[in-house]
């Protein structure tokens, strides 16, 4: 089968790759570039565990072909390394915001994006922002707590129901 040469920024570093046009971006990241924190749960665009940041905005890598990443900038959870990312990791651990961990890298990416844009977010805004990231284990409550503790309100209002 014919292949196409592509080049893009992966976690800030340039990568180039020769891929079949039909190769999914999620498979390229996982199986050709070793970024296995990008998980695959449905390939139907619903579960969100394949979330990446494409030029800084959350996108579902299972709904993209690898060739569509050509010339773009892709961030996976492996590439989240700023202070906010570390705070999020600590907060997730402290609040027990993960169980099997399969949804976790994607949750971190989405939460990172939310907090960068809306450090003032309240509980319902956080729930809304995470609504495209399914989790089958935690019932979301501790994820919400982990994220809200890093907002400007510092998790105040946790006790009231959302």
């Amino acid at each position: 089968m014919t292949t196409v040469d592509i080049a893009f920024l992966l976690n800030g570093r340039p990568v180039s790759l020769s891929v079949e046009p039909r190769l999914l971006l999620s498979d390229a990241l996982r199986h050709h570039l070793g970024m296995t924190s990008t998980h695959v749960g449905c390939e139907q665009g619903v579960c969100g565990v394949c979330t990446i940041l494409l030029d800084g905005a959350p996108a579902r890598s299972c709904l993209m072909l690898a060739v569509m990443a050509d010339g773009r900038s892709v961030t996976t959870a492996e590439g989240l390394s700023d202070p906010l990312a570390e705070q999020l990791r600590d907060s997730f651990q402290e609040h027990h915001a993960l169980q099997c961990g399969f949804c976790t890298p994607a949750m971190l990416l989405t939460a990172h994006c939310l907090l960068s844009a809306h450090p003032e977010a309240g509980e319902s805004q956080i729930r809304e922002a995470l609504s495209g990231n399914l989790c089958r284990c935690t019932g979301y409550q501790f994820i919400i707590d982990a994220v809200s503790s890093l907002t400007e309100r510092g998790g105040e209002g946790d006790a009231s129901h959302g």
Binding site: Q93, H96, T138
Partner: protein, 778 residues
Amino acid sequence: MAEEFASAPHFVGARIPRTEDSRLLRGEAQYLDDIQIPNLLEMAFVRSPYAAARILSVDSSAAWNIPGVRAVFTFADMPFVLPQNGPSPIDQPVLARERVRHAGEAVVAVVAESRYIAEDACEAVHVAYTPEEPVLDMQAAQKDRPRRVHDAAPNVFYHQEYETEGFQAAFDTAPHRLTMTFQTTRQTACSLETRGIIAAADPFSGRMTVYCGTQSPHRLRGDLAEMLQMEEHLLRVIVPEVGGAFGMKAATYPEYLAVVQAARLLRQPVKWTADRVESFLSDVHARDDIHDLEVAFDQRGQIIAVKDHLMADGGAYASYPFSGAIGETSLAAKVITGPYDIAHLSTVIDCTYSNKVPLGAYRGVWGPVASFVQEGMVDRIAQFLHLDAAEVRRTNLVQPNQLPYRNAAGMLYDSGSFTESFEHALAQLDYTRWRATQEQARRVGKYLGIGLSNFVEPTAMASSEAGSIGYESCSVRVEPSGTVTAWLGLGPSGQGHETTMAQVLADQLGVDLEHIVVLHGDTDAAPLGGGTGGSRSGPLGGGAAMQAGRKMRERLDVYAAHMLEAAVEDIAWEHGRAHVRGVYARHVSLRDIARIAYNDVRQIPSGLPIGLEVTERYQPPRPVSFSNGTHAAVVEVNPSTGQVTVLDYVVVNDCGTLINPLIVEGQIHGGVAQGVGAALLESLVYDDSGQLLTTTLMDYLLPSAPLVPRMRIEHLVTPSDGALGVKGMGEGSLIASPAAIAGAVNDALSPWGVSFERLPIAPRDIVTSLGRSSAAPV
């Protein structure tokens, strides 16, 4: 219980963040599909497009011609079955043999250099079928209509009857009787990580290494050995990181046999991972039950007798080793009276084959169904007698002075806090206030409802979907450097055993948590044990860890006493150091002891063996230990859209001693979220030809963050008489929550006289029945 610890318990009972988390948060954890093995081939399956058909021919010549295709297998190439002993005599073939019996059954296995090529090749395989009439309705199936699923056996593969003495007289003379039919539609665990397996021969020993996200590593190894006629010691099962299991990953599946056999035949590593469509078509389904129920009671709502015909559609084969149909009905029949004191019970069970996916385990198994039936029944009685729903529950609850209590089915509730948890839940919720709010809201056209759900949860049973090994095991080694390594036979999938088992060991050994590593899921290293399922890991795994830790500490005490020239009784441990009680200056470290035990062996106190290694097995004193609790939900229903919003949710949970409240609460949150799905969203829908219509997450809806309520949790502690007083708790939250939410929805709709007896209750169902209902709301 203080004497069970080397020192005062520091770790058991503490809200300790998990050890597992850091690799997961960095994206470094290796789930099955992340494992890289050189020359790994991939398998894909041609699956049946028909619910029932005869296979006329398989033409795979075009598939063989695709570059990169390495093999195309049919049943003739791997003539193996998952055997069924006992009540259901029908074996499940690895690949369909002459007939297909459910849409999605694997017919042909293709192995290729990549999954993309394997899927191309699947499309090039031509299978010719003659369709047959599918068996889809469980009540018709009981009469072998329209036909038998398996020629060799009647459709009813499990039938049981039970009745308490004097049932009929009690039932006939009761002042009131009501009849109702409860139904749950098919659901499935839907872990976000799908199933998968890799088989790779170990180039050094020639043994076969199998990576699989199973809940029972040792059982899977035994099953593979038996079914594929291999020697057990030539197989090694390794459980990698598992992205959720919930009972569904306890089963041994046909695909597992196909992959291992392919790796044997091709002498090359082979992998299969399910895509989501395959998951819906091949992961065990659950909760396909009907309960035809009659209940007899008096004017106060005291329940006198319950008569229940329990039916379950088991699908095309009994899932191995645990038929969900049998599990759901036979256990429900034993606990259908829940925490209520009901003297008389009569049950009939019928489990049938159909042309659907096999029914297996999903968290709670029988429980979510039985609780829905039991609480629905109580609510119907309250409605009929115009009594308050809480009052009728008070009238019926097993009282503290009745414990231990043997229920009408003969199950012994060893201990519990039934009345206490109920009263605490009402207080937490502020039941009276919500009732007043509900009244006011109705006047302005808002419809609130309150749902109450009292549950019992049989845990730590000898037999569950994990298998029928009634014990769990733990090996502990103090390493030459003084750190501690422990191995358990469990198969966790996010429950945090690496942390909780370390907490138990840390207290037993008097060492700090960071000096303990807990490993699991490798049959080469872990002592033989049952695995994870049936809420057994906490009480049984915890019991094994405690026992192994204690055994090790007894040995360490002798060393310390010898080295400090003190009596064994005077030795105390803290932070990995033994001292003479009260005299901190006289101490030795674990490291000092380990050095002698391994290197300076002539100094070992007489009577002790060389080294510091023990393996212990723990079997609980009782065959089952009951957790209990109460869930209370408040919902608002929008009558024009059918939208249900959960406004408040309270859980009072009693699982005995808590090893780690943080982890217990996480389990509860997750179970309640799954209960929200079970009550309002999740439904596997078959059409009239036996096609599964819900094969994507756009059709089978999982609860997302905005839908799941904030939960308020209170713990009660009624210890079991097993190790540490721990009871299991992995399932109670999903057992109780569908009933609480369904009850709340029905309560909200009571002005219409509408009451749902079928789960899930979708917005469409609500709008349709309100439209049909003649009674206008008050």
